[in-house]
Subunit: 359 residues, 4 copies
């Protein structure tokens, strides 16, 4: 039935080449170590999956790259991110396979790898860059930047990716464009401030009226209420927010953060279904990437103890640092600090609610 | 410190070639379908892992291939099988990744694949052959044998694997050699028969003495006891056992089955620790391979409904048949029918027990 | 800060009672078997998770129970189903935990369980009923209906659930109400028929014009095209469709199936994002429930071989039958047979497309 | 057939009580929050699995508690630890289920939980104590010891567990008793020192003979070789080792560490098969417990941002600290630093090798 020359499974998947490119160095140098094959194949499958992740991220970058994001693309963009999540979940589990190799088995061929190191994976760096890891937050490695460890053509690819708009940036821009936060008769920021103020006044009154509290407890509780009021205020006032950015609590723009908060608070509105799934997916990705790094640091600890890594660094230590330091979407996690219960949310005007639904 | 020319991650893993051999046909024919990349990479990672599984199986085949299996190799053989288990677990999970592709997305490039089919994976067939799937139990595919679907050089590899000793056969031979079943003053078969007879006589007496039973219930219970006694007898008498083999309940030899039973009953003895782990691992492998086939048949059903597969078969249906039909170590599962509680086991003579321990 | 009496972790979770209700029978009867605790706890956690699944299904039933499903509820309903999926995934993995108990260890206490059997889990039956498993498709067990194995108050709960609208039914009704299939100037059924006819005419012409085919091949190919045309026709003509229902290919109503097809074909339209996720989630649930049953049947085979189950049945065999026989949303899987590539879909009129978007 | 009063599934598992003890506080106080049920059930299943883990640890403690560990118990002890691993793997995956609850959904009932906190789980603390977490390495919580957060009868249970021999201690004692390290004509410590010295002399000679190195590089390399020689020396000399203990690199005794090293180096010898599996299992458990804590800290960050936890602490921060700080078997990970390739191991005298095999 097909209108195309027939093709076999073998030719389609380039099986011959695929199965030819595992070349254990221990064989080459005359001391075959059985487990080197596992080491190679584990890393090659990692790289294949990295390629797939990049394919999906590129799709999402393209979707969010235009002036106006097509409504019809949102479903697809989110489903591509869900695929990235499914792959990352697999990669985390895959650590268990490599862990079936013991430290002694690794020692049999470890010497031959020098100075190759997982640190040199260009695709993983690309994933980080395209998602939005900023160069300045990257850990240096033996005091050298990450680009020092890859050769020229690849270094250019990495540098180029740094100067392109990342998903972090595109999502920030897209969020900041969200139209509902300031419409006729509704100013989200003002309404939220009022709601939060009411909430804390109520809390304060409760504390003051609570005759069971000692003077000391009352003072402490009032201070806590004041503290939380202050916390919220800093999200809404431009200068205070700027300070949060300087402190590294937030990296997103003032407008984007408010939009993200709005989406979280009103995500049951149909027009926010997909945006909410998008923000959730970004958190899942961040969490899985960091879990993968963490599992790797444990495995490295187990495999080489406190030895110096094949790439010349104390590998286990570096990985542990990168685990937290290379997180990208912490803003979305930190945002939880500012959520309030549904019952305390500002009520949306009917007109606005209708705009957020299908007719 | 290394005595070998340095090598980079990129060169060691042949990254350039590895990432070059994904050639979506939909691109080639001018109708790029985004998800074809996922389809290719999923299958390429499958094949890489199949290669790793074959590497481990070859190790185990070599370990069990000699006249006398070296004690010191048992630990390693079992740990290689545990690795196969870890990989198969990953492959089962990997189905979830491919399932992020919907039926509609598959349709965008499905036509271009014709007549390529997962059915043509030579490595998967090799795994089955090396583990011990017999040609005669293989499902035919459109009434043709499985070798009809692969081209010449690969067909020879498959045929060669059929004529080599499989793990099933080597394990059978190794089991049949187990020395402890007939030693001075202890004949396992006789002792087991006595133990089982006592157990059923006791059961029978209990039924006869149970005044709460109606005549009818008593008859039924006695019949059940007799039936189970018969079941056990058939394992111990050569002709009756031969009938079980003809009926497909067992495929292993008379001697091997008894050894497997012995290992199960007395696996706390140190010398049986590793043999017991081996038998358990073979069941795990069988179970995971069959689960993988099952998950695949569900995925195929979801992807193509009742359409004809790209290889020309009703793929989903074939997979479902192979799920159960291609199981290899069912003997070990069926053996559970014949296990008896610890308290009913024949007691091992002290001399024998000492032989099964370290000095 | 809280306005409620303080509570401890222990009291909140009723830890004392929770940890008191594991009562191994082997202890009670004086032959403690270490692994009975695992058996009890595995099943108790199953039941707790079943309760959670029921909590979510009840939410979704309520959401779809009203005359008009609130747009704003769709996001929540889908996320509750995603939770059910996450739980079922866990339950499938949980089988591996119970499998750390060997057949011999089970034998130590198996006798004491008689005639308790997982078959008597009322909650699992409730899940099946509420999702939409029809009584007539249920496997009987020793020729008795499933309600014969539970005691009175629970039997009533089960019978009541049979007479309430199931998710299958509510989704069918909701699908059949989909407004877009017949609007001014667009009749989906007619348009689809035309599109499919064109597609097959094109295919037919290609076959006839293909000079490389032998007469025999040409005939065969033409027959295949005709066969597929017929297959599609049967979906669109009421009488032919009725036959598909009688044959068990479909169980959903004529209108619902078309709506489901429409949702699959045009799921990129914003208004179909959530409905598409819903249909996908139902397939995931069906697939995971059947995988769970399958894994259980393998485990039962391993644990008891071909022995009779504690509930008096050949448990392993029953489970294998139920694996496929108790699937609920096979319609959605079978629908894939009728999907066509995006490029062949009927083009939606601009007016209709706008209705499917936010303003 | 059974000699025991029949029992139903429902009675055996105490289903009625089990399903009655989920009491959402949000219901009680009149503001039902749908997701509180998930919160309760997730934590109750955690506690049930903790009970199972304790059951297995108690078995292993009993096995290792006697003066001489019975050879026949080793297989069982290891398989119980493998079960703990399977359970912990499930618990790590279970985090994904709780994560289907969003921050906003948690807010709906979070207030009612005060001051209950997962920090108060007595069973988790017991697991840590029984495995061997020392009180002095425990993180304090708001400057208070962990026992400050549980009520009296439970506090006594915790304190009692602190004064009993932990698995860490029992394994240390058992390792220190390993007979093979000093036998007639073989002193492991001396032989190892010689082997390591030879290895480094060889390395040193290679550096000195390498004419391609600059003076500076030569100096640096020589220094590295000397450094590693020193590292090994510190393991073998009592005073230097004591310093490693003071520095927290090791916590095990001098004799136990050498035995663990011996087991790693010669684990192919049959008598070391089970001991090696034991050490591996302890590392797996340590790694999974720490992964579970890590996943929890990420989830807490997501759920409450930088808010103060219900127990009054910054929960996310505490969890992050405990992730690394509460590891128990780091000795076994750190030991990898001291492993050498097989080819450099001291050769075992034939007489010793025979003692490590079955006759």
């Amino acid at each position: 039935m097909a209108n195309h020359p027939p093709i076999s499974y073998r030719d389609y998947l380039k099986i011959e080449t695929l199965l030819e490119i595992q070349k254990p160095r221990s064989n080459e140098f005359g001391h075959p170590a059985h487990d080197e094959m596992l080491f190679i194949i584990t890393h090659q499958t990692y790289e294949l999956w990295f390629k797939q992740i990049l394919t999906e991220i590129d799709f999402v970058l393209a979707s969010f790259g235009s002036e106006k994001v097509d409504e019809a693309i949102m479903g697809q963009a989110v489903s591509k991110l869900h695929r990235v999540i499914a792959i990352l979940r697999l990669l985390v589990d895959q650590v268990s396979v490599l862990e079936t190799m013991t430290s002694m088995e690794f020692l049999e061929f470890r010497n031959y790898l020098y100075p190759a190191s997982g640190f040199q994976s260009v695709q993983w760096r690309l994933i980080e860059n395209k998602l939005g890891l900023a160069r300045e937050t990257r850990l240096t490695y033996n005091s050298l930047p990450y680009t020092a460890f890859v050769s020229e053509p690849e270094r250019d690819v990495l540098l180029a990716s740094e100067s392109q708009a990342s998903l972090f940036q595109l999502v920030d821009t897209w969020l900041a464009r969200t139209p509902f936060l300031q419409t006729e008769g509704f100013n989200f920021k003002v309404e939220l401030k009022n709601a939060v103020d009411d909430m804390f006044t109520e809390d304060r009154d409760k504390v003051l009226g609570n005759t069971l509290l000692s003077d000391d407890e009352r003072k402490k509780n009032i201070a806590a209420v004041e503290g939380m009021k202050q916390t919220f205020a800093s999200l809404l006032e431009p200068e205070a927010f700027e300070k949060l950015r300087v402190d590294g609590i937030f990296r997103m723009s003032y407008g984007a953060i408010h939009a993200a908060l709005f989406i979280n608070l009103y995500r049951d509105e149909p027009i926010l279904h997909m945006p909410f799934q998008l923000l959730t997916a970004l958190q899942d990705i961040d969490e899985l990437m960091t879990t993968w790094r963490y599992r790797h640091s444990l495995m490295a600890h187990r495999m080489i103890g406190m030895k110096v890594g094949t790439g010349g660094s104390t590998g286990a230590k570096y990985l542990k640092g990168a685990t937290e330091g290379h997180r990208i979407f912490t803003d979305l996690f930190n945002l939880s600090t500012y959520l309030i219960p549904k019952s305390k949310r500002p009520v949306l005007p009917e007109g606005l609610r209708l705009k957020m639904r299908f007719n």
